[in-house]
């Protein structure tokens, strides 16, 4: 069969074909869901940590849609956000299932309050397009985030939890081209004009204080040995990747001055930055105003 137009074949379908956006099924229907022999509350919390990282960065990237420097970049950032949202749906669904309290992915994404979200600060900080940000800062964040996630998911493929292992193996392929995209922009801007170099360096300075948190093990991760990845193990691999990119871009590695914690607590403990409340208000308001809204 051949078509002059790739979409011609759609015409033969009945009207019911046009059902995009409604009737979404559960994300994990039919996946092998054996729960390993560990504390269920810990496993649920770990799934939330990973799911929230992906969900919140997905939201931040989606903010760029229609505001990026060029049309192709609108599409690129929206695509990357969509991949992360897909990963988040699987992880939040797993969290709800392991928790056993009947909360689904929507309840977890839209009905939890700030203190119950467990993402790292790097995912939530404002890096543009709004106040305090710049496209270069967003690329700096995406480079650091995806380099860290690649190191984490590579190891998570061997997790004793079959769902986490499967999500990691699949997500890894996506993260690989997210990192390439960010790295290529960092090189292009760092090795570009004086102005682009200056702004790329400033972007790195903005995100660097949030690096330290990525490698600090939370008690949940420590207790879940065999299921969770120890973040402290990831540091040298991530540092190596970042140094390679920075050196190709002619940029200077910022000094390692970690952002202050609140009584030793940060994102994994549900303690967030000031910008986070605004993010959640925008992300959750529709579902909270009109619960279960569909269109």
């Amino acid at each position: 069969m051949s078509f002059d137009n790739a979409y011609e074949s759609l015409i033969d379908h009945e009207d019911t074909h046009w059902a995009f956006g409604t009737g979404f099924t559960e994300a994990l229907a039919g996946v092998d869901r054996d729960v390993p022999d560990v504390d269920r509350a810990d496993l649920a919390a770990y799934c939330l940590m990973l799911g929230d990282d992906a969900l919140i960065l997905s939201h931040r990237l989606a903010e760029w849609c229609s505001r990026a420097p060029e049309l192709e970049e609108d599409v690129a950032l929206a695509n990357i956000a969509l991949d992360l949202l897909g990963q988040a749906r699987l992880l939040l669904t797993r969290a709800g299932e392991v928790e056993g309290g009947g909360r689904d992915e929507d309840a977890l994404a839209f009905l939890r309050d700030e203190r119950d979200l467990l993402n790292v600060h790097l995912a939530e900080i404002e890096c543009g397009p709004f106040a305090g940000g710049d496209f270069a800062t967003t690329m700096a964040r995406l480079l650091v985030f995806s380099s860290w996630k690649i190191a984490q998911y590579s190891r998570l493929r061997g997790s004793a939890d079959p769902v986490l292992a499967a999500v990691a193996a699949k997500g890894l392929k996506e993260l690989a081209y997210h990192r390439d995209h960010a790295a290529q922009w960092v090189v292009r801007l760092g090795d570009g004009t004086d102005e682009s170099h200056k702004r790329m360096q400033a972007g790195l300075e903005r995100v660097w204080p949030f690096l330290d948190e990525l490698f600090a093990p939370s008690p949940v991760e420590t207790r879940l040995a065999g299921v969770a990845v120890d973040p402290a193990e990831l540091r040298s691999e991530v540092d190596g990747v970042l140094d390679t990119v920075l050196s190709a871009a002619g940029l200077t590695r910022p000094a390692d001055v970690p952002a202050a914690r609140v009584n030793g607590r940060a994102g994994r403990d549900g303690v967030h930055t000031e910008a986070f409340g605004y993010l959640l208000a925008e992300m959750q308001h529709l579902h909270r105003s009109l619960p279960g809204a569909k269109w």
Partner: protein, 159 residues
């Protein structure tokens, strides 16, 4: 199996789900069909449509009940698109992915320059094509342009 294999992909309608390689298993017992599909990308919005289309087609074909199951592992790769599928893509003006072959599970390579792969223009066959953007209208496609016939075209990128 035949009914399920004929269902088309909602976003690449020139391909059937079997061509795309997302149809992993079909079993039947006493008129109850169980179909297993795998997502192409984690966030692929077409997945729910595929499930709904499969359910509708199988019910219309007279089966009493249909279960659509999702399998995440092993993860989908463009290597699972059939030879027939590659040909149909090319005929529809979409450059098909090249074959990747077995890959290592070692470190993920970092690419600091865009890939300089050889992709031929689906309209004129020229290899003088360049990537405009790695991200296109759907998660699975990149945008390219042909330097000889000047046509922009889509390319199903290798994953």
């Amino acid at each position: 199996m035949e009914v399920a294999a004929r269902v088309r992909d909602p976003e690449l309608p020139v391909l059937t789900l079997a061509d795309l390689g997302v149809l992993r298993d079909v079993t039947e017992e006493d008129g109850r069909v169980s179909v297993t599909i795998t997502p192409t990308y984690s966030g692929c919005p077409a997945l729910d449509e595929m499930g709904a289309d499969l359910r509708r087609s199988l019910l219309a074909a007279g089966f009493a009940a249909v279960d659509v199951r999702l399998s995440l592992s092993p993860a989908w790769t463009t290597d699972w698109i059939s030879e027939d599928g590659l040909r149909k893509l090319r005929e529809a003006g979409i450059a098909p992915p090249s074959r990747l072959g077995p890959r290592s599970t070692g470190p993920v390579p970092l690419n600091l320059t865009p890939p300089s792969q050889r992709v031929s223009c689906p309209r004129c066959g020229s290899f003088r094509t360049s990537e405009l953007s790695r991200f296109g209208s759907t998660a699975c496609k990149a945008l390219r342009r042909c330097a000889d016939c000047a046509e922009p075209f889509e390319h199903v990128k290798e994953i």
